[in-house]
């Protein structure tokens, strides 16, 4: 179960926002052998927020190693060749995860974006809900990025983390 976030929130609370394409994926136990993670290497075509780099590795909990699977409902997944816009934050162990679980992953098909909620259970938090993450479904990726840049430029100076 995941609190619903608005487009403004995931934009504000993400440390990196990148547009790119998935190069490869793999699954592995973490160093403590507590959880299995699925990692995706994203080749960055455009950085809308945060540090620039050629690639970024996005990690989400769950996966299969040998005959053991860790099955977590609603975690976003990636496929090699998939074009995405992802909203990322870094967790204490150094991994980058998508903000708001699937709410922070947009798939791009034929140049148009669509929020990839991926079966997550969304719970409305208290307070005002602003722009729904699904409200830009069907927009071109350029329109989408233009909207994001507008949100980013409207943020108070010094707000970038």
């Amino acid at each position: 179960m995941v609190p619903r976030m608005s487009l403004e929130e995931i934009t504000e609370r993400s440390e990196r926002i990148v547009h790119g394409r998935c190069l490869r994926t793999w699954m592995a136990w973490d160093a403590e052998r507590q959880f299995i993670w699925t990692h995706a290497e994203i080749q960055v075509a455009d950085t809308l927020k945060g540090a620039r780099s050629a690639t970024v590795i996005v990690s989400e909990i769950g996966g299969i190693v040998g005959d053991i699977g860790l099955m977590v409902e609603g975690m976003p997944r990636y496929q090699p060749g998939e074009e995405v816009v992802v909203f990322l934050f870094r967790v204490p162990n150094g991994m980058w995860r998508s903000r708001g679980v699937g709410q922070g992953k947009y798939e791009v098909r034929a140049g148009r974006v669509r929020a990839d909620l991926g079966g997550i259970a969304l719970v409305e938090p208290a307070g005002v809900t602003r722009t729904a993450v699904t409200s830009l479904d069907g927009a071109t990726v350029d329109e989408f990025k233009s909207r994001l840049r507008g949100l980013l430029s409207a943020r108070p100076a010094g707000g970038q983390r």
Binding site: I64, E73, D116, G119
Partner: protein, 680 residues
């Protein structure tokens, strides 16, 4: 939607509106330990648990263990399923990978933060054997960064509702295609609407873990959904809803248009199909929604204007095919909301709303095409529960987002079954449903006869500051919860999700349970003739019950040990009893109730002063053995809330013996007759 190998693992079986997951090899996930699933609750799970940033993970007024137990019990108590959770142990254990120990935890640890830090509210971490599909470990982590409660505090997440949903995942369920079930993919903070399993949830656990012998009791409906030209419709939601019981069970058509609604209780059902174009969308249910066709109009068996009902028999299948018109549906209900009549504004969202049996409510639904002028009051109805639209209350409008909406007042039958209802809206050319969007929940219920003086359990007027016991149904949690003092030193007015008001003034609560509440009547009702008494439990309110108010209503506390003897202590501090009488001329302490206002005034919920000036009750007299007794002190017992202490001297001329009558009088009101003390 394309997926990685794990996505294949997460692929789901879309045979029913409840959805099961399976391994990449096609094996359905299930538990081998289903008959005795042992959960461990981390021992930090307690009221007032704080996280590392200084916020509450569990609010101090919560009872998290009871809520978790209630969630476990709910799945265990499905009568047609053999799945059962053992009583959980409370141990200092955390989550440790795939160790086959199932732990529920709220603790703020690095591993919990790491696993839940993908911004989840809670996450179930099921380790499975990819060979057999067996779930071998299923830790549940509640995100320690978020606030949880069992009292439906605004902005908090209801522990029982969240646990119930996550335990469904631990049993092998994915998200439901219907709106009301606990396993639906959307909920809200500050409500507990999903803390109750629906028929669709129960159908899941029955199908996966059937109770031997239950299968002959349940029936099924199956068939196809096709376009008028015969082409099959894939990914259509098919719902059967029973008016007599409020049961709604769903299914999702396969690629060939076939569906099967299983585990249906015998009875009459309406049957309809709708596209997954909101509030349930194909992407809400993950892989099960892949390839869903959303370009067709909602259709009922027999037509939306006069749906035909189907009979389901135990152990038998009822065939039923549905035919739909292809094309973009002109109407779509995307969500709604409800609020008890007269309680203010509605909050709308794309998930279920609650109605309470016997309570009128204002309801709104919103969605595409609802501004069609051919939609009139008579074209809106509820299927599946006795909910009727009050004539003349229908109106149109728009949401703040500019989406057309309909608004009306409904009456809900007092004896309405506690199930779900579907809102049906018809225009001249089309129909739309908010499928199982309304959930009927039990409201607290009591009558004036159930409002009693706590000393005697006798019905009568309530006095300011009096301790009352109120008896009824659905008044609070199944297990009793005692009240506690708040940070201001007053008895709390919210306990385990229960609040009680007299003319709008909140009453301090000593004890709450589903059948009884002990509370103090607020001093603020002084001078009034009547009080409207309202009990709320987890956001659901009772009717207002009118109770007379008196300036004083004295009553002497008697023991509940079967003797009926009063709580009177002799001067030597021994409890007055047969064979332990008070000598004449000594002072006894009588504990009573219902004194009314005191001087100096005392705040509602505050304990009596422990030093001068004590809070004295004016005008108190006492009779012992029919003779007037000198009252040395009458006022609030120091350190206690609402407890009257009368220190009276046994008259020198009082009769002796084990049964000497004692009466306390304030003004014209006297305590109950036949209270006997011993005098020697």
């Amino acid at each position: 939607m394309r997926r990685l190998p794990l996505g294949v693992l997460l692929a789901a079986v879309a045979a029913s509106a409840f959805i099961r997951s399976r391994t990449s090899g096609g094996t359905l996930l299930r538990r081998a330990d289903f008959a005795n699933i042992r959960y461990i609750i981390n021992d930090q799970t307690a009221p007032g648990l704080m996280n590392s940033t200084g916020g509450f993970t569990i609010t101090p007024d919560s009872d998290p263990i009871a809520a978790l137990q209630a969630a476990l019990d709910a799945w265990t108590n499905v009568p047609t399923s053999a799945a059962a959770f053992a009583r959980p142990e409370i141990l200092p254990l955390g989550i440790t990978g795939s160790d086959r120990q199932h732990v529920m935890t709220f603790a703020d640890t690095p591993e919990n933060r790491r696993s839940a830090s993908g911004d989840t509210i809670a996450v179930t971490l099921p380790f499975i054997s990819t060979l057999s599909g067996e779930i071998v470990d299923s830790d549940i982590v509640f995100n320690p960064a978020l606030p949880f409660s069992t009292t439906v505090q605004p902005g908090t997440y209801d522990i029982q509702a969240v646990a119930l949903h996550e335990l469904g995942h631990a049993l092998g369920a994915a998200h439901s295609g219907l709106v009301a079930p606990t396993m639906f993919s959307r909920g809200r903070a500050g409500t507990s609407i999903q803390a109750v399993l629906t028929a669709d949830d129960m159908a899941f656990v029955t199908e996966v873990y059937p109770e031997p012998g239950s299968q002959g009791l349940l029936g099924s409906i199956s068939g196809t959904v096709t376009q008028t030209d015969g082409l099959p419709i894939a990914g259509a939601l098919v719902t059967a809803i029973a008016p007599a019981t409020g049961i709604a069970i769903g299914s999702i058509t396969r690629g060939n248009g076939t569906y099967a609604i299983t585990q249906a209780a015998p009875g009459q059902y309406f049957l309809y199909t709708e596209p997954m174009d909101g509030p349930v969308e194909a992407r809400d249910i993950g892989e099960a929604g892949n390839g869903a066709n959303t370009a067709f109009a909602t259709a009922f068996l027999g037509g939306a204007a006069a749906p035909t009902s189907l009979l389901v028999r135990g152990g038998a299948n009822t065939p039923a095919d549905l035919v739909v018109e292809a094309g973009t549906p002109p109407l779509n209900i995307q969500g709604g909301g409800a609020a008890p009549l007269g309680t203010g504004s509605l909050s709308l969202f794309a998930g279920p709303f609650a109605l309470n049996a016997g309570q009128p409510a204002v309801v709104a639904v919103f969605g595409r095409g609802l501004d069609d002028p051919t939609i009139t009051e008579s074209a809106v109805s509820f299927l599946g529960a006795p909910v009727t639209i009050r004539p003349g209350t229908f109106s149109r409008g728009f949401t703040t987002s500019g989406i057309p909406s309909l608004r009306f007042t409904v009456d809900v039958a007092r004896d309405a079954p506690l199930g779900v209802a579907t809102v049906l809206v018809r225009s001249a050319t089309a129909a739309a449903v908010f499928s199982a969007g309304a959930k009927l929940l039990p409201s607290p219920s009591f009558s004036a006869a159930g409002v009693t003086n706590a000393a005697t359990f006798a019905t009568g007027a309530a006095a300011p500051g009096e301790i009352v016991s109120i008896f009824g149904t659905n008044l609070g949690p199944a297990s009793g919860v005692s009240g506690a003092f708040d940070g201001g030193g007053r008895l709390a007015t919210s306990v385990a999700g229960v609040t009680l008001t007299f003319n709008g003034f909140r009453a301090p609560l000593y004890f709450v349970r589903q059948d009884q509440i002990n509370a103090q009547v607020p001093f603020e009702v002084a001078g009034q003739s009547f009080a409207n008494v309202v009990i709320s439990y987890q956001g659901l309110s009772s009717f207002a019950v009118n109770v007379p108010v008196a300036a004083a209503q004295p009553a002497i506390f008697v023991r509940l040990d079967g003797t009926g003897r009063p709580w009177i202590f002799n001067q030597d501090s021994t409890l007055n009893d047969i064979g332990r009488g008070a000598p004449r001329g000594t002072v006894v302490t009588i504990y009573a109730n219902g004194q009314g206002t005191v001087s100096p005034p005392l705040a509602t919920g505050a304990p009596g002063a422990a030093a001068e000036p004590f809070n004295r009750a004016p005008g108190v007299t006492a009779m012992i053995g029919g003779q007037s007794a000198i009252v040395h002190f009458a006022g609030m017992t120091p350190g206690f809330v609402g407890l009257l202490q009368v220190n009276a001297e046994v008259p020198a001329g009082a009769p002796t013996g084990p049964n000497v009558p004692v009466v306390v009088t304030i003004g014209s009101a006297s305590s109950q007759p036949n209270v006997m003390m011993a005098v020697q």
